[in-house]
Amino acid sequence: MAKEYRTIRNDVALPYQWALGKTWTRFFDGLKEEQIWGTKCTHCSRTYVPARTFCPDCFTDRTEWVPVKPEGKIVSWTLVKATYHGQVKPPPYIIALIQLSGTDCGFHHFIGGVETENIKKLRQKLKKGAKVKAVWNPEKKADIYDIAYFAPVK
């Protein structure tokens, strides 16, 4: 054991089967077809992506499905170099907040197709408002990774 005093290792491991529900089932099915779905609230007219069962602001389920273009602009991002248990992938990688065209919220995903070595160049490339476009995973599983990442548009 690594510590100088006595400890016991307590690994908590558990299996899960998470229900997607109708809204997210449809959303992820959409990704498989290279279609991003959002929902628009008929009350406040805000469009949220991923699609929602109900409008988070109005608490109403009177929402309509709207197709969302797989492109948008960068709101914010971070280059991850930290490592930790259970990390989604080995660093470095970029997580971004992207506002997809026609939506009223930010969408979280990876940024790819860029060099991460030079942080100054990266900052130039990923300036606020920079346009990005979804790059689809050739192999689709109807999950969030069906979008491989978003890449800057030249």
């Binding site: 054991m1 510590k3 005093y5 006595r6 400890t7 016991i8 290792r9 307590n10 690994d11 908590v12 491991a13 558990l14 299996p15 899960y16 089967q17 998470w18 229900a19 997607l20 529900g21 109708k22 089932t25 992820f28 248990h85 259970g86 109807a142 999950d143």
Partner: protein
């Protein structure tokens, strides 16, 4: 509802922790290695607790006095476990039991074995509440609770 069944995503989560034993529990496990079961006695309420405590949860005073308790005791209750579940530590079937070790004032949780566990009806004949059992030690000690391999009925 089954008609409207929507998709399910399967996953598994593992989170690692490393918990400190602290002085009291270290000493308890050290003593197990020497085939001694130690409890602690509260000077206020005089109860002897196994597993030992650094403090008495009732009197909220430090428990300072170590007491070796007997390796024999009385079965206060038990359960025959023959249902599997994820990440189960012991192989089924096993008997989980609460044993009042002589000289202690709390029930000690461990397993009863050393008898044929395959047939429950036979097990019921062998293990009864109020019966006496004694600790059987593992030959190889690791400083954990299974240094006591199990408790077996005293003939």
């Amino acid at each position: 509802m089954s008609k409207e069944e929507h998709r399910i995503v399967k996953g598994q989560v593992m989170v690692p922790y490393e918990l400190a034993l602290g002085r009291t529990w270290c000493h308890f496990f050290d003593c197990l290695k020497e085939e001694k079961i130690m409890g602690k006695k509260c000077r206020k309420c005089s109860r002897v607790l196994v597993p030992p405590r650094s403090f008495c949860p009732r009197c909220f005073e430090d428990m300072e006095e170590w007491v070796e308790v007997s390796q024999e005791g009385v079965v206060e209750t038990w359960v025959y476990v023959n249902m599997p579940f994820f990440a189960q530590e012991l192989k089924i079937p096993f008997i989980s039991a609460q044993i009042r070790l002589d000289g202690s004032d709390s029930g000690f949780i461990h397993q009863i074995a050393g008898i044929d566990l395959s047939d429950f009806d036979k097990v019921r004949e062998r293990v009864k509440l109020g019966d006496r059992v004694r600790a059987v030690w593992s030959t190889e000690k690791k400083g954990n609770i299974l240094d006591i391999a199990y408790f077996e009925p005293v003939k």
